[in-house]
């Protein structure tokens, strides 16, 4: 019987790993630190330095690249973070999973600078009881005007015959389906099978004209002149371009609108430095600081006073975002989108 020792070994190893991962504990006694779990390159280094100089609180930074990654790490336990910045759908998930502390707004006086019109659109945390909005943005279309001098600011661009083989869209089911739904005048969060079927027909037309659904290489390929019309986040394209092409590239959010995201600051349950977390959130919401971050990201600010202090021109305006709609967590209904998306991918 050779099999039993191997299996026993396997189980022992699995147990050992579990014990080791679970036993990792943090004991930070000092109140002069803040454990901050942020997106990759989302806040410039010098802003964090200013915070440390003003308050004497040291920010210990850790970074993630996707909501899923952040959520998985927090769920696995033993992370010891105080503040993080999930997107809207994940804020609602984390509220439901009891992972967040309610926010005492009296400790975040700078909350008043946030655009009330924008706040009223928030559905993932109505009344902002658990989250303080950070930045919002949306994917759009970048056009190489050297090759495509004339175009309409509409999703219809993806049905143009003359651009066949020169266009890409994101390999992202919620984004592309959301674009088609908005194009048809429906909600990006619809669960209505008829509306989804109509959106599928639209995306199928687009699919026949675009080169591929791509979320990784369209930026560099646009820079090489390989693709002329790409749908995606502005920062993924413009960071790849030389100055001349950046001059000739236009980014726009179509008139029909599309899905958008809003990332918000939250304080985690079990945070050990709650007071520092409040100081940090209030600091980030201060108009001058907010403007510095907005200039770094070159996207519109939600901070009414911060907007006035910005120096850089943004790729799209706050008005553009008004046409867009927040992506909400669909729960298990995401399966409706899944099956349609796979059908689109194989041409059914």
């Amino acid at each position: 019987m050779k099999k039993i020792p191997v299996l026993a070994m396997a189980i022992a190893c699995a147990l050992a790993i579990g014990v080791w991962a679970g036993g990792k504990g943090e004991t930070s006694g000092g109140s002069k630190v803040l454990y901050f779990y942020n997106w990759v390159t989302y806040i410039p280094e010098d802003v964090l330095q200013t915070f440390e100089e003003e308050t004497g609180i040291e920010v210990i930074l850790d970074e993630f690249a996707s909501n899923e990654e952040m959520y998985a790490k927090l769920k696995a336990g033993g992370a010891g973070y105080d503040v993080t910045i999930p997107s809207g759908d994940f804020v609602s998930i984390m509220i439901r999973e009891d992972m967040l502390q309610p926010i005492d707004m009296s400790k975040v006086p700078n909350f008043k600078y946030l655009d009330p019109e924008f706040l009223s659109k928030i559905t993932f945390d109505p009344g902002s009881r658990y989250s303080v909005p950070f930045f919002a943005g949306a994917a759009g279309i970048t056009v190489n005007t050297r090759q495509v001098p004339a175009f309409e600011k509409s999703w219809k661009i993806f049905t143009r015959d003359d651009l066949k083989g020169r266009m890409t869209m994101l390999d992202d089911m919620r984004e592309v389906m959301g674009d088609a739904l908005k194009f048809l005048g429906y909600s990006v969060n619809t669960k209505n099978p008829k509306e989804l079927e109509a959106a599928k027909q639209v995306v199928s037309l687009w699919r026949d004209k675009i080169v591929k659904f791509d979320a990784e290489t369209f930026g560099p390929a646009f820079a090489r002149g390989e693709f002329w019309v790409v749908q995606g986040y502005v920062e993924n394209v413009f960071t790849e371009l030389d100055e001349a092409l950046a001059q000739d590239a236009r980014f726009f959010i179509p008139d029909e609108g599309g899905p958008m995201y809003l990332d918000s600051m939250v304080i985690l349950k079990g945070a050990k430095n709650v007071e520092n977390a409040y100081k940090f959130i209030n600091f980030i919401s201060r108009p001058d600081i907010n403007a510095r971050i907005a200039d770094f990201l070159t996207i519109p600010s939600l901070n009414t006073e911060g907007r006035k202090l910005m120096k850089e021109k943004t790729a799209y305006s706050y008005e553009d975002l008004k046409r867009c709609e927040f992506k909400e967590d669909l729960g298990r209904d995401v399966e409706l989108y899944e099956s349609i998306w796979h059908e689109i991918r194989i041409g059914k």
């Binding site: 959520y71 659904f213 390929a221 729960g331 298990r332 099956s339 059908e343």
Partner: protein, 284 residues
Amino acid sequence: MKKNHGLLYTLPTGLWVTVFFLVPVIIVFLYSFLDRGERGGIVWRFSLEAYRDMASPTFLHILVITMLISLAATVLTLLVALPCAYYMARSKRKSLYLFLIIIPFLTNFLIRIYAWQAILGNSGFLNNLLIRAGLIKNHIQFLYNEWAVIIVLVYSYLPYAILPLYSTIEKFDFSLLEAARDLGTSHPGSILRVMVPNIRAGIVSAVLFTFIPTFGAYAVPKLVGGGKNSFMLGNIIADEILVNRNWPFASATSILITLVTTAALGLYVLANKSAARAAQRKKT
């Protein structure tokens, strides 16, 4: 009495294989029979839903596409690798050619795929060359379809096919070919009837070394694929984990890939056994 230290000697390898191969496979296997968690992960409840989902026409279509692409890539690889290996084995500069075969491995796999984008792209070298030569007016779209996937897969796994073929052909006694021709076979006939059976082990390894990795391909279809016919099982797995958060279905799909590739390995073992038996028979 001599003590048997076998277990002790194999303990490091045994532990390594257990921790980094067996445990993950067991976890994947278990997960495929559980219920999906709302936000990814799993719920500890027995469920066959992941396997039931596989019966969907969409999934079966993707399975067939994956099969066809990896079979086409395997056959093409073999057709290119055989003459290469033959030439190498008969050449006087064997080590130089071997070195040349290994050179691509010095560069990262992904970078080599990106190089293919630069060669075959709409504004790539090949299109520019053809346009400048006046042969075509507008670009031809070489990339972003199933053929591009097959070409890049053939390129990627060619060395893995050439090396085992080379090592068996090199050991082959070429005087047998002369003997066959003396006995009246044509040149192609001698290769087909005398050489091929003798290098069978090399051919089977070459087929496996191409079929197994191409069947689970992920990066190649993602980077040079496109259109309707290049979405493969590997891409489904990534999609289910990253986007749909359906871990059981992703696990079931990778179990399917494991089963298909294990079946291929099983055929290899069987082929080897029957070859060994045939050799035994010849001797007696």
